[in-house]
């Protein structure tokens, strides 16, 4: 349990420290070290959960079970590797004169602020605190989206702030309704604790819970980026600094989905029906298809991959909504590989944009000839995210397809169509970027591609063979979420 407190304290200390010292030379390395220590702490936490099962802290404030502990490790891992990339990237941006000292302070301080909010969302046992932390994550990142202070970035940040703020307000209404239903059973002081709620799930009023779930899905769904609530996502991803895009895509979206799945587990227990699942399937499938189509009409490379994030989040929401052990297992796996691959892609995209001096895809050409490592990184990342074997995304998408064929065979063609459209949408843009002649005056830059290789390596490993401890872990989480073993 000490691990959780340490984890939260470390990030909180980071906020204060960087707020004062964030502009110093080589401060990025310190940020990396803090995130590295956080990663070690989460691994320690994971091992103790693996050995001793679910941990509930003394005051019942924190709950660590097999579902959230793996997301905690994933969060720390992506946070760490992104900070590896962020240190030279931000130093380069500062050299270009895009950033001042005070903005660097803000950046590093809020990097830790965002990590703190994410850890709190995952570890807390209280639904209300989860909402507060989720809103906190928006507040921490909103000024980072407008870090460059261009008119576009300010517009993007304003949109992000208003849409996510209003969206998440709906989730608070859902939470209040849920609290209302729960406090009728008694013990109102503890009625928002997950442990108490799960214990009494069958006694909760199903009518109220159905209404509450609609609000919760819309609220947290805004953060997942579900169509038609997705408008903020491509703007926020494309206008902010690239390390921010990597953590937003790799972490924030996952954690919002985590919130929805937790609520679904509760509502399923209370209503004994599949209504929550159907809602998630509908929203998920629409997001998946619409985002796949939008991929074709993009001009900005970061916007392209943010639509790809919407597409994948849609697929996961769909799979979690379908329920059952196979689909849930597939969704958990997909969450992992998507985070790994997408943050790797954003890292290479960051380097690509620095090489070409622009994010407009029409002007980025001949990447492999300019800097082979970055070019191949981008190409392999795109291959992986499009769902080619032998990468992990193929495995998880294949499992989702299998589960769909088993439960809802008539939806399979739609999924296949979506995957095909998305593949075409990605490759028609990326192919001319990596191949082709290099334009005049384009030269290589100092790039740190270790995070990319590590992420893609893991994605490859998960595609070839899932290590037994990890699959045990996913199975435990699957049992917890879907109620049946694989």
């Amino acid at each position: 349990m000490i691990a959780v407190y340490l984890l939260l304290l470390l990030s909180a200390a980071g906020i204060l420290f960087f707020g004062l010292m964030g502009h110093k030379e080589d401060i990025g390395k310190l940020n990396t070290r803090i995130n590295g220590v956080s990663l070690l702490i989460t691994i320690w936490l994971a091992i103790s959960v693996f050995n001793n099962g679910t941990i509930l802290s003394g005051g019942k404030a924190f709950l660590i079970d097999s579902f959230n502990v793996y997301l905690i490790v994933l969060t720390a891992f992506v946070g760490f590797t992104t900070s590896l990339f962020s240190a030279p990237y931000m130093a380069h941006e500062k050299e270009l004169g895009k950033l001042t000292d005070s903005r660097l302070k803000l950046y590093y301080s809020m990097y830790q602020g965002f990590m703190l909010a994410m850890y709190l969302v995952l570890t807390t046992n209280n639904m209300g605190i989860m909402w507060v932390a989720m809103e906190g994550a928006t507040l921490a990142t909103v000024l980072l989206v407008s870090l460059y202070r261009t008119p576009e970035s300010i517009e993007a940040a304003w949109k992000y702030f208003i849409l996510c703020g209003v969206g998440i307000a709906q989730a608070l209404f859902g939470t209040i309704l849920l609290y209302y239903a729960a406090s009728q059973i008694g013990d109102s002081e503890n009625a928002l604790l997950w442990t108490v709620l799960y214990e009494h799930a069958t006694q909760l009023n199903p009518d109220i819970l159905e209404i509450a779930f609609v609000f919760l899905l819309i609220g947290y769904g805004t953060k997942i980026g579900l169509v038609p609530l997705h408008n903020w996502l491509p703007d926020a991803h494309s206008e902010g600094p690239t390390p921010m895009s990597a953590v937003l895509s790799g972490l924030l979206l996952n954690d919002a989905l985590y919130a929805v799945v937790r609520n679904k587990m509760l509502v399923d227990g209370a209503t004994q029906s599949h209504i929550a699942g159907y809602l998630m399937m509908g929203f998920g499938l629409v997001s998946f298809l619409v985002a796949a189509l939008f991929l074709h009409r993009q001009k900005d490379i970061k916007r392209l991959f943010s639509y790809s994030s919407i597409e994948h989040m849609g697929l996961m929401t769909f799979a979690f909504g379908m329920g059952g052990s196979l689909a849930t297992f597939a969704a958990l796996l997909h969450m992992t590989v998507h985070s790994l691959v997408k943050s790797a892609i954003f890292v290479t995209v960051g380097h690509t944009a620095q090489i070409a001096g622009t994010q407009k895809m029409a002007q980025i050409r001949g990447l492999i000839k300019t800097q082979p490592k970055v070019g191949w990184g981008l190409l392999i990342g795109t291959v992986a995210i499009a769902g080619f074997p032998p990468f992990g995304v193929f495995t998880s998408e294949f499992l989702v397809l299998l589960a769909t064929m088993h439960n809802y065979p008539w939806l399979t063609p739609l999924l296949l169509l979506g995957i095909g459209i998305a593949f075409a949408g990605l490759f028609r843009h990326i192919q001319p970027i990596v191949y082709g002649e290099k334009p005049e005056g384009q030269s290589a830059i100092k790039a740190n591609l270790i995070p990319v290789m590590v992420h893609l390596g893991f994605a490859l490993w998960l595609g070839l063979a899932i290590p037994s401890f990890l699959s045990d872990w996913f199975s435990q989480a699957t049992l917890l979420i879907s109620g049946s073993a694989l």
């Binding site: 209280n126 209300g128 605190i129 909402w131 507060v132 932390a133 809103e135 906190g136 507040l139 909103v142 000024l143 407008s146 202070r149 261009t150 008119p151 576009e152 300010i154 517009e155 993007a156 940040a157 304003w158 949109k159 702030f161 208003i162 703020g165 209003v166 307000a169 709906q170 608070l172 209404f173 209040i176 309704l177 609290y179 209302y180 239903a181 406090s183 009728q184 109102s188 002081e189 503890n190 009625a191 928002l192 009023n205 009518d207 109220i208 159905e210 209404i211 408008n231 491509p234 703007d235 206008e239 939008f294 009409r297 993009q298 001009k299």
Partner: protein, 225 residues
Amino acid sequence: MNIESQDFYTQAILSMSALVGLTSFLMLGQGRLLRLIFVFAIQGLLLTLTTSLAAFSLDNPHLYISAVLTFALKVIFIPWMLQKQVLAMNLHRDVEALKNNTAVMLGGASLMVFSYYVLQPIIHTSSMIMLNALAVSLSVVLLGLMLMISHRQAVAHVVGFMSIENGLFFAAIVATNGMPMVVELGVAFDVLVAAILFGIFFLHIRTSIDSLDVDMMNKLHEVDK
């Protein structure tokens, strides 16, 4: 339901919810920013009164703390900050011509009916009073959204945003006698930070487009143009 047969507390809560709903409608049709902010402050005051009333009648001392927080944030700090912005930008003389005001008001009224319709199933589990209070809170939330859609000024958007929070707060107090203390403190903290961030944003928006009219923020599109 005969309102005279209810106890005093219930009657008071019902009147309060009616007044809170009314302030939302007043805001919806308001074209002048200073008046809009004034009505918003009144809504905050009504919320404070409701909270204190609940704290007093139900003998629940922690609600006094949230009453004080609400008063400090929603009646004093946020209206003061917004008013300062409006005066600084010299927007207080402009009257925003609202496009099809009638349609907006009618839309608002139908949103209220819709809230009652959505929350209808709750009747099975509790009283009419609960339905009324929750439906009014939901409609305050929806009217806040409507306010944001129908107005162009960033200040009006912030007022809409904050009045959504008011609706949620009202629901929390009336339906569940307030959330657990730690959650309420967290939400208040978020609102405070959001208010400060809005202040920072006004500054950025003004320097970037020299106006607070959000219609002028139109550089980003869903697809290429």
